[in-house]
Amino acid sequence: MIHSLFLVNSSGDIFLEKHWKSVVSRSVCDYFFEAQERASEPENVPPVIPTPHHYLISVLRHRIYFVAVIQSEVPPLFVIEFLHRVVDTFQDYFGVCTEAAIKDNVVVVYELLEEMLDNGFPLATESNILKELIKPPTILRTVVNTITGSTNVGEQLPTGQLSVVPWRRTGVKYTNNEAYFDVVEEIDAIIDKSGSTITAEIQGVIDACVKLTGMPDLTLSFMNPRLLDDVSFHPCVRFKRWEAERILSFIPPDGNFRLLSYHVSSQNLVAIPVYVKHNITFREGSSQGRFELTLGPKQTMGKGVEAVLVSSQLPRGVLNTNLNPTQGTYTFDPVTKLLSWDVGKINPQKLPSLKGSMSLQAGASKPDENPTINIQFKIQQSALSGLKVNRLDMYGEKYKPFKGIKYMTKAGKFQALLSN
């Protein structure tokens, strides 16, 4: 399976290597660097690169390439999924997954990688088990360890690996028992120049932060479970129960985890929460262009649209812009031609707009490229699909937990196509 792993930073240096079988020379990465050179953007490096004796499968996260070396046939997704789990684990342990963080914690990283794979086959990938094996570093613990000489490797042997619920640590204790659930929906949409929706779909997740003592058994029910027809679950969810009763029943992992993710596809009607009105003109031969953009809320169920950020890649012919926002601030980078406008909150009484002129390269002809604008926003306390949690019950333990649920809608890849 996975033979070796190399971590490559954005400047093309290998800063960490780990081998699970016999050592593979790091020169194998030369093939990767070649591919990297050929690719115009860092994202364009192909995830699977065949070399004469090995296959390189890589993922790019946080501007670090995680390059796995494979020697024989293995489902590529197996490797890709695993690499992403590695990154998630690092993020979980160190807060961020940067080259500096990895270098600072190289011993923990090595211990983690050692536990996660045995002979290239995944062994322990559940964060709860790993945390039992290797305690995440904290500033306090580092200081304490330095003074007392104690270690960050768990003194006890992990029982989680053997337990009936491998994702949960045993012997969890909290003074405040609490369970929080965040329903977060991201809407992806493409809106054409006339304002009608080309595609719109919602990708939702329920992230949980559960800090409960003992072995609680939770059930979560929805007002409208019908919406969830395309879901994937954390392994703790009892699939059978969901199929039969549309109730989520599970013994939760300890701490933060993603309970489920769902997808409301473009075939369902998806309400678009904002609209864009625009008028962008370039005149042939003239060195001036007009730019006008107005945003407004639409179908937001009475909730305010916040943290609105508009960005657009203007055509190459645009030299500079002279625009006036009615609210927020805007910037234009004449080198990358990236226009970004931090709008803030949309006030439905006074719609934000951005008006002004663009100066074009003299003599250049009218740009034929179609600028698109990307919009980001947030709507608090509302899930766009209308999903609502009905109730949360706990069995198996006697205390009363504190329960909380939060809804949020965010823009995912929300694009509006503008015309010339």
Partner: protein
Amino acid sequence: MLSMSTNNLSYNDQGGSDSAVEVGQETTPTSSNAGAGFGLFSTNFKKNDDLKEMLESNKDSLKLDAMKRIIALIATGKNASELFPAVVKNVASKNIELKKLVYVYLVRYAEEQQDLALLSISTFQRALKDPNQLIRASALRVLSSIRVPIIVPIMMLAIKEAASDMSPYVRKTSAHAIQKLYSLDPDQKEHLIEVIDKLLKDKSTLVAGSVVMAFEEVCPDRIDLIHKNYRKLCNLLVDVEEWGQVVIITMLTRYARTQFTSPWKEDGLFDENSETAFYESDEKKTKNGDEKKSYMMDPDHRLLLRNTKPLLQSRNTAVVVSVAQLYWHLAPKHEVGVITKSLVRLLRSHREVQYVVLQNIATMSIQRKGMFEPYMKSFYVRSTDATHIKSLKLEILTSLANEANISTILREFQTYVKSQDKQFAAGTIQAIGRCATNISEVTDTCLQGLVLLLSNRDETVVAESVVVIKKLLQTQPTQHSDIIKHMAKLFDNIAVPMARASILWLMGEYCERVPQIAPDVLRKMAKSFTSEEDIVKLQTVNLAAKLYLTNSKQTKLLTQYILNLGKYDQNYDIRDRTRFIRQLIVPNEKSGALGKYARRILLAPKPAPVLESTYKDRDRYQLGTLSHTINTKASGYLELSDWPAVAPDQSVRNVEVIEPVKEWAPSLGKTGKSKLSKSSDDKFYSDSGEEEEKEKGSGSSSSDDSSSRSEESSSEAESDEEKSSSQSSEESDKSSSQSEKSSSESDSEQKKTTKKPPQKKTVKPTAKDSDSDENGNVAKETSSSSAEETSSGSESGSDADSHSGTECKKKTKSKAKPKVSGPAFVPEKRHDLLHRMTGKGLSAQYQFPRQPCLYQPTMVSVQISLTNTTDHPLEQIHIGDRGPTGLDMHCFNTVECLLPEASVTVSLGVDFNDSTQAANFQLCTKEDQFSVSIQPAVGELFLPATMTEQDFRKEQGKLLGMNESSATITMAAENTTRQPISRQVATVANLGVVPSGQDNIHRFAGKTASSGAVVLVTVELRESSAALITINTEKSVMGPMLLRDLKRALTRA
């Protein structure tokens, strides 16, 4: 002195205490301490010379610090091998982190320092015998990772021993070790296969994934090893960890292709039209079974499809895709559709995941447009997509295009052509070309659109358009001479060689349609010939030759000029071509024969090129594999065989261990039921077979599709038989899932009970039990209906809750049923139900008499003693309102009058539904009512059972994995012999003692009162008062709770 010795003792005994010892040492000042301690803060500044010194110091903190620095060296790829002797000495260290780091080092460098590595072996050999399973496992793990050929025999021995270890975790580790040993010494193959065979039989979910991995690595061709384990693997699949699932599914796909016949025959292989038709038509078509009359799906084949389907919901993308490929390669064509939605969902995942998923979809969409057409919009390209994602989406959109949606797709393509990513725009133009050739209705529209693009300002776009137009024109050259003229005009402005070459070729090919222009173009080319690219030169020579043949009057001189230029070109291809053309067209004495045919050779009608996808024949590789992704055979790729024409012997998969059919058959029916939810089942069979068949009961298989399900239905009958018998005889091992099932189908249940086969009588063990036969049935009926009634209440919620967790873990069930026995011990402990102060003089206490409840077998009996502490008689003491979520209770008869100072004992039955939820009710007198509650300890919810040690083992074997919970405890000194243990366990839980052959293992058995699930407790004494408690029950909530209580009781003096 005394303190010294205790200190030493503790040092030797438990590793856990060394940190304390170290702290003690740290405080003693030594001279080396300060200097080395400094290293901790300045790792980077110091040279590594001191590492050896630090490792040889006698303090763990220093050693640890040194090891950390060494690991940092290894991680950055620096060589730290010269420290090997110093490091390897610490292999037996008691500090866990230090030991782990030494392991990491050892595994990294053992290969280079083989002799020194051998020093560490004995440590591991000792650890392999450790009582702690985790230590055994980690020792085996490291030992097998040391790539030193000399220790192969030691490894082999260790693997063999570990393969029969008690702990599934150790067995899992041994499965991993198999692969390592195989790569170290392939000669061991035969012995390793034996171990694999043994481990394949393992029933633990922990082991399954790892051993299949070993199988794939060592002996993938030994399909015969799988036969007997096939059904077990299918049934365990849902509970195996996600990585194991991927491996098992891939292996089973290969297996199924060798063992079952093709389910595709009726569909007509890859017939797109009939396919879409089939697809769009209602699912009901399946019901008609017209296709299944001639083709009967092997029930094992169906089992696999059914048990993998829920995994489409996995969060692990690799699992989802592996199920998708399994359906693609194994399922009947009309069932493959279930994977579409899941695959499309994955497109929201990371870029790399998208890439692989899109590749697979691209291959699928060529053969089966219908599958992905409804999701077409999901493949629309976003400007932020990476280039390779864009081109894959383009590929898929092109494959999905048909008459109905082509206009939408072309409109989408129009936006893409304007994209700033010119590479992508060029790809779009090619895609338009493919659409144009595939769908004749839009050819003209596309062609016009492409011609418009010829005036685009971007050169790559224009060039690509030219190339595509050239290909399109070939399909219908007659009508488009104006386009050719237009292109000739553009010729001067186009610099891209491929495009220029294309135009030249067009001119030559259709020179008779543009007789004025072609010679003029040739004239221009003659001027610029020397500065052109090779490909353009070749086409110029071509054009010259063709013109010479058709219009020699105007072009003879030009041609000769060009041929002369070509003759002295630097490129030998061009020189060669020139020589060939000259011989062919210019008549001279040598070239007599061929010259006559020159015209026919050069101006032969040429077939139009077929524009087809690069994914056209990717399906020769199994989907989801690396080979499929890179489109070449990767090393170690295992070919997916074609379906056999005749299915090999099916009986090889029967497991004929102890109970030939029974052992297996119920599990098929049951796991089928439990693994796959009802609703998804319905999807398969729509509303046809499923219900009907159940009604029909004992195997009178319905004629149509049940042919494929005949075994299931009969097995269902089997399990029904068992169910009814177990139900009627009160000791039942009946499972919760069954009771749930029966509650949902209580109608059919009744039918079946009337049909009880005679065999049932023989199963009934005692007269007492057969007495309760009627009772049992009645009870069942009422309890199930009551469960239905209160299904909205939280009580049934919690009930079903505890079930659902276990349902899917249902294992095979044997006929051996534990008999209920009398309680081993009745605790005297009474609990307050109502204090006399709160009860206005009425006091009540309850205790659990541990007798089977007379009213209903599912109830737990509770004795309540009521005492009147007032000075006046209390009248009409009875149970009042039980609250909305009340449990099912059997009340005592009203106590009409209780005199002062008198007390009375009444008994009560409560069906706790196998949960420790309190029973709340009101205790009423004539005047007052008091809310009271009975809170059972988990141990009171059982009834003791007697069984033989053999039966116990068998039952235990079925309740592994998720159904097992265990803990190691330190027993109180008094509790180390049989009697006290039995007493302690019996105090905690109402379980029966199972006679045991071994002195150090104590076994207890019981079943839950409400659902009759078996509960098995094993207390295994280890050395020095350590003990391992293992609880096996399918009640996944009760198990840990009981474990907790037992732990408390046994550790307490």
